[in-house]
């Protein structure tokens, strides 16, 4: 009897591991819950299945996936195949699959690259004619170092004015607001029975949390330096901010940007990012974000700002799915596309097209004026 029990617990542990591979969040607590649950039910096949189905899934997606995973796992087991082998096979199958896919997309990548380089020349041309004396109207691609210092000052102004909406929570205040009876009573009764001082409270402002995700691939090269600088300056004056860059994969650079000198920070960032000025995979990068940080950090006060030209070689479906996932958690998704500032721009790129219906704001942000306009309007 005892041996049978250890057997089942070993299976549950192995099954939990398998579920983790499949994207379930299974804590040790869950595993022990599952084992505990099994001690309370009649040991039939149906009950066993139902109990595990009740314990392991934590959201709708898990639940949908569960049946197939369950069948897969226990059928394999019934066949007498060791669970670990099954898992290993699955893993290796995954690994085998990936390179094949990449090879298939290689020609497409080449043609895209050609197109991108061709496009870049055109962009520089475009950038040149918007070379205005006024800093605000100047296209970022034509920014000099002095301009950048000036820009930093403007960013400070913007950050301070970032829209704040009153929340429904309160904080103490000295001026104005409504009477805070609780504090008034607490503070006053020590002076005897007489109420001598009144305390007030006012609505706490909701502070926007910003998530800046910037494309630093080849096609964005002329803009990305500025945007990284923009992130850097923004981070200095505004604390509720997380910064990321991506090309083929996403990289969080909040730590790197903490350097006191921008040049060191920029160096650090470009060192940590594997494909600086490389290819682009927006879908993959956004999925990284949606699957990891999105779950932990995003809330209804968050605004996700994506800065990208929307030109990539990835799958537009992935862009759509990830944006949907982000939208569920965030308050708003804003996409800044520097190309959109040029006359006659149409969102023809596949990823851009897929993303458009899911965006709350789509703007160009290719010069300071448009950027300022967008940021100041950010409200939760």
């Amino acid at each position: 009897m005892l041996q049978r029990e250890t057997e089942i617990s070993a299976h549950i542990v192995a099954f939990s591991r398998y579920l983790r591979v499949k994207g379930f969040m299974v804590s040790p607590m869950r595993e022990s819950d599952a084992l505990l649950a099994l001690t309370h039910i009649e040991p039939t096949k149906q009950n066993f299945y139902l109990a595990l189905r009740c314990v392991f899934p934590q959201n709708f997606k898990n639940l949908k996936d569960f049946d197939a995973i369950f069948d897969n796992y226990w059928k394999e087991l019934e066949k007498g195949v060791d669970a670990k082998i099954a898992m290993a096979e699955e893993e290796s199958a995954k690994k085998k699959k990936k390179p094949v896919e990449k090879k298939q997309s290689a020609p497409a990548f080449e043609s895209l690259k050609n197109w991108l380089y061709g496009n870049k020349e055109k962009e520089e041309e475009l950038a040149a004619y918007s070379d205005n004396v006024s800093l605000e109207k100047k296209d970022f691609s034509a920014f000099t170092d002095e301009d950048l210092a000036e820009a930093e000052k403007l960013i400070k102004l913007i950050a301070r004015r970032l829209a704040q909406k009153p929340s429904r929570r309160f904080e103490p205040t000295r001026r104005g607001g409504v009477l805070d009876l609780r504090r008034t009573l607490q503070k006053n009764f020590r002076n005897g029975e007489e109420i001598l001082f009144l305390h007030h409270k006012k609505a706490k402002p909701t502070r926007v949390k910003l998530f800046l995700i910037c494309d630093v691939s080849k096609s964005m090269e002329i803009y990305s330096r500025f945007f990284v600088q923009f992130m850097y300056a923004f981070k200095k004056v505004y604390h509720r901010i997380e910064t990321y860059v991506f090309s083929t994969s996403l990289q969080r650079i909040s730590e790197e940007l903490n350097e006191s000198d921008f040049r060191t920070a920029l160096q650090k960032v470009s060192d940590t990012v594997p494909h600086w000025a490389g290819g682009t995979d927006i879908g993959q990068s956004l999925q990284n974000f949606a699957e990891n940080d999105c779950q932990r950090l995003l809330d209804r006060k968050s605004i996700v700002l994506i800065i990208s030209d929307g030109l990539d070689m990835g799958e537009p479906e992935l862009v759509e799915d990830s944006l949907k996932a982000i939208k569920k958690r965030a308050n708003k998704i804003v996409w800044l596309n520097p190309l959109a500032g040029h006359a006659g721009y149409k969102p023809e790129a596949r990823s851009m097209k897929a993303a458009l219906p899911l965006l709350d704001v789509f703007a160009s942000g290719h010069n300071f004026e448009t950027l300022k306009e967008v940021i100041l309007k950010l409200k939760v």
Binding site: C54, V55, R182, F189, K328
Partner: protein, 294 residues
């Protein structure tokens, strides 16, 4: 207590259920975990809590969530008016001892217990229903986590209050907003979908016993098909039951086009849905197999 007891308890309260639902309720109770129920509107998520309370013969304490719900409304608040009166009255009695005054001022007498505090101060474990959790904001969610794991509430003026009994917690949500992983980790998850034909028919027959058998069959079939149409707001069981009750009260024994058209407002609550359904009604009725009498 075992699985079958739970099942028959739920059934005895008129809740038609399946193995999956009763297993979830059973495990949530035996493992002492909160049960997070998600699903479309009107499929009986809230009902589970009500039925559980009845079946266990205990109190149902309900906390309806909304945006901006704060601890004053969820846990406790001091009754300031009475506190002020008390202070005024004590003036005459010359109470010089401030400590004594404090302990009286912040005593149970002036404490307004809101749902969460109520729930942990019951002798017999109540059912605590936290309804539409996704409407409350994140702050409240993290706050709730603390209570769900420690079962204690700290009131600065009094101290920490330990739960007398651990409530059976039911949390419902419509997926308006994704709930946090941290909350999910502490809960068992149950998804309730629109019922299958057989289950829905059984529910109609049980909840509207005076209904004609033929009519019940037609109504259920119609609703099942209607849910496959492209609608802005898909009707749940609540709507089916409303409709069945309404038609039974008017002593109809079958459906026809005229009846459906004039009572569509009972099941569809969206202008555009009503409009579209009216246009495709003949087609829909053909699918259901209802022939209109001319």
């Amino acid at each position: 207590m075992n699985l079958d007891t739970i099942k028959s308890l739920l059934q005895s309260q008129g809740y038609i259920t399946d193995d999956y639902v009763s297993m979830s309720v059973f495990l949530a109770m035996t493992l002492n975990k909160a049960l997070l129920i998600e699903g479309p509107a009107g499929v009986g998520k809230t009902e589970i809590a009500k039925v559980m309370a009845k079946a266990l013969d205990t109190n149902l304490i309900r906390l309806q969530c909304y945006e901006g719900l704060d601890s004053n409304h969820a846990i406790y608040e001091w009754n300031y008016q009475q506190q002020l009166l008390f202070l005024k009255m004590s003036e005459n009695q010359e109470l010089s001892n401030t400590n004594l005054l404090e302990s009286q001022l912040f005593s149970d007498k002036f404490l307004l217990k809101r749902p969460l505090l109520q729930a942990i101060s019951q002798e017999k474990a109540p059912v605590l229903l936290i309804d539409e959790m996704d409407r409350a904001d994140e702050e409240f969610e993290s706050f709730l986590l603390e209570i769900l794991s420690d079962w204690q509430i700290t009131i600065p003026e009094i101290g920490t209050i330990q739960a007398k009994s651990i409530p059976h917690v039911i949390i419902t949500g419509n997926r308006n907003r994704e709930l946090s992983e941290a909350l999910r980790r502490r809960c068992l998850y149950l998804w309730i979908d629109y019922p299958e034909f057989d289950k829905e028919l059984e529910i109609v027959k049980q909840k509207v016993p005076q209904i004609d058998a033929q009519l019940a069959l037609q109504i259920t079939k119609f609703m099942q098909h209607l849910r496959h149409e492209k609608l802005n707001k898909v009707p749940g069981i609540a709507e089916t039951l409303d409709w069945a009750t309404a038609l039974a009260a008017m002593h109809f024994d079958h459906l026809d086009k005229e009846i459906i058209e004039s009572t569509l407002g009972v099941i569809l609550k969206d202008w555009q849905d009503i409009r579209n359904t009216q246009l495709s009604l003949s087609e829909l009725m053909e699918k259901v197999g209802v022939t209109s009498r001319l």
